[in-house]
Symmetry: C2
């Protein structure tokens, strides 16, 4: 998206003097670079369209164009009304999850690629969870597994089978959160958005029991702070899911 970056060592001085290329792309580039140089942090005000236009000696149009682009990239929020204008946005995982969804739709990445990527993320998450999970994290995980165990103790009705899948997904989320790594969590959520429609909605009784057993083992290993075992268990679990999904097994279990 943005390529050449000249030094311009000054902090806020490099903002006027927009030269070649298109004006709007220059503005975008400058904001982008300033963000990654750490000169801009969430909440900072860039100014209004008119302010920036005057400062750069251009009309509202290219500034507006740049604002729309930066807004779409999730870099700025735009507020209407008095004391409005462009502000550096706070991070929002959903934004790049959307971006991922778009690209996957356009490129047509294979399911297999997605699964392998998911395995990479979640096995590391399991390992880190074993190292860093707090008592609260563990309690939350146990709670979810108990709920799954209760559900699987009797034959699953149609609605219960759907609910089981959802709770199981919540378990995976909780586990990733227990790893206390927001980069992993962000990537996990992005992958999930794309993979979710692929996973089957309902879980069969037999698989449900396997899932519960597997999750219980996982919690045990985390509780024992056995990172290697946690990673291995998660890996095996996901390989099974992967195999099921890739042969289009309709009764596939837990995402």
């Amino acid at each position: 998206m943005i390529s050449e970056r000249k030094l311009q060592s000054s902090k806020w001085a490099g903002w006027q003097a927009v030269r070649a290329q298109s004006v709007s792309s220059r503005i975008i580039e400058q904001v982008w670079d300033a963000l990654f140089r750490g000169e801009l942090t969430p909440g900072d005000r860039l100014g209004s369209e008119v302010e920036l236009a005057q400062k750069l000696g251009v009309s509202r149009v290219p500034v507006r164009d740049a604002f729309r682009t930066l807004q779409a990239l999730g870099i700025i929020d735009i507020k209407v009304g008095a004391h409005g204008g462009a502000f550096i946005a706070a991070g929002d995982a959903k934004r790049f999850a959307d971006a991922l969804a778009v690209q996957l739709k356009l490129v047509g990445i294979s399911i297999e690629e997605m699964f392998d990527s998911q395995i990479a993320i979640e096995t590391m998450a399991a390992e880190l969870a074993a190292k860093r999970a707090t008592e609260d994290d563990l309690a939350h995980l146990r709670e979810l597994v108990d709920e799954l165990a209760r559900m699987s103790s009797k034959p699953l009705s149609k609605t219960a089978a759907v609910q089981f899948t959802q709770v199981s997904m919540r378990f995976h989320e909780a586990l990733v959160d227990a790893a206390h790594n927001r980069a992993l969590a962000a990537q996990f959520r992005a992958l999930r958005i794309v993979l979710e429609p692929i996973y089957s909605r309902r879980t069969s009784d037999a698989i449900a029991r396997r899932v519960v057993a597997s999750h219980k083992d996982l919690i045990d290993s985390i509780e024992a702070r056995d990172a290697d075992r946690a990673r291995t268990l998660m890996r095996h679990r996901l390989e099974v899911v992967r195999a099921h999904q890739l042969m289009k097994a309709v009764d596939s279990p837990d995402p």
Copy 2:
């Protein structure tokens, strides 16, 4: 980004009649929905700003706003000149990488989180490379390692030390590409955008030799199709880098 989606079962009929909210956001929503309903595929022409404006009974401005947003999202390409206008774009993994990088930057993720995430991605990439690397992939990797070996055979000058770091980064890129997984590749590039400014620019002689040895081992394991060993080697390598960087060792080696 886009929320409510009403049915409007017709294919191209729902395009006029833009009502409440902001006009531009309605346009964005319609294109977004059409894309995910499969009514738009890469290469399709949306029309020019004027065409759409007339069709929707609005001015060029909101249509232009929508185009900028859709362009930033990677959904459309805009061509200038005769027979130009907006076209549904082909996918581009770099866009997702940019989006992820932005969010990681905005959320303010710690270096440690980034490293662990990188380890997750690259260890899986090494493993997959051992399974799926082609002869071309291996040749490319060998080429890069040979270059590194040549450079490290004599003491590194200041500029050579910088160059060594760059070539080493190219090696990591080549390895991820050899895994033939675009989802992993996109995530790798995203992390790299954020991590690159952190890594030291120059590599010391002692470390350079260690890096070359490590990379050679890695290639050997890939050539032997030993996925476990490839993963383990990559893991150890990155753990070393991680430790170096976290104690702010200025002579840190290869990203």
